[in-house]
């Protein structure tokens, strides 16, 4: 359970969400990403390949992080959503707000160079 941040290529950090992203742990994710943003990273991939469920607080934190990152000229992409999580993003229309890739590798590749 928890969040892991790994630099995958210069300026791009991959964030793994292991278990769940909900009201009880969203603040931890927010702080970790904001710390990395303060440290100069402004491109992020959030990898949900190992995520069971996300509640509305978790969705909310992604919305606010995405906004902050874009304000700093960066981008936040999502990847690895299973069918249920993909449906959750579609129901809430958040699929229109985020770039969503099938795999973390595809999301990484979308950041050039």
């Amino acid at each position: 359970m928890g969040f892991s941040l790994t630099q995958k290529k210069p300026g791009v950090v991959m964030v793994g969400v292991d278990g769940q992203l909900i009201v009880g742990n969203r603040q931890e994710l927010k702080q970790k990403v904001l710390d990395a943003l303060d440290g100069g990273t402004n491109k992020f991939v959030i990898d949900f390949s190992r995520t069971g469920y996300i509640d509305s607080s978790g969705l909310g934190v992604l919305v606010s992080l995405s906004k902050k990152i874009r304000e700093q000229g960066g981008d936040l992409r999502l990847a690895g959503l299973n069918d249920d999580l993909q449906t959750l993003f579609e129901l809430t229309k958040l699929d229109t707000l985020f770039s969503i890739a099938k795999t973390p590798e595809e999301a990484l590749a979308a950041f050039s160079p």
Partner: protein, 152 residues
């Protein structure tokens, strides 16, 4: 984390539709949402719902209901608890989540998918909850929600 959460299982049976009930009091602290959901989901894994619906629909909907009750109903007051009662039958699972608050009118909660609201951080809880279960009802006061998930 040491947890004050104690799940009570009450067999019913004896000809009735409900086979067993689960009872859980959750302190009004958001850190208990995840552990409370884990406890309930573990007991519902071999019942009316498919494992996938337990792991996603039940978990997410219960997390929403608990977070609403703790944050908006009980205002995260540690002296108050949120009461969860689950009724399990072969045909459905019914989850009641009740707080000590004054209640609210679910009809006035705005649609979070409207263009002007899409980029807001909050306000999606009730929408997500309604999307993931088969039926949602509130008591008249608005401090108790009942979620029904049909078998399958």
């Amino acid at each position: 984390m040491t947890t004050p959460l104690r799940l009570h299982v009450r067999p019913r049976g004896a000809g009735g539709e409900v086979e067993f009930e689960l009872l859980l009091d959750v302190p009004s602290d958001l850190k208990y949402v995840g552990p409370a959901v884990d406890l309930i989901a573990a007991r519902c894994r071999h019942g009316a719902l498919s494992p996938r619906r337990v792991e996603f629909n039940l978990r997410t909907a219960l997390a929403e209901a608990l977070a609403n009750a703790i944050a908006y109903g009980n205002h995260q007051d540690p002296s108050r608890v949120v009461r969860v009662r689950v009724e399990a039958s072969r045909a459905w699972l019914r989850i009641h989540v009740t707080d000590d608050g004054a209640g609210f009118d679910p009809a006035v909660v705005p649609d979070p998918t409207l263009p002007g609201r899409l980029e807001r951080e909050d306000g999606r809880g009730l929408f997500v909850l309604r999307s993931l279960v088969d039926h949602v009802t509130f008591n008249e006061k608005g401090n108790s929600v009942c979620l029904t998930l049909r078998a399958g």
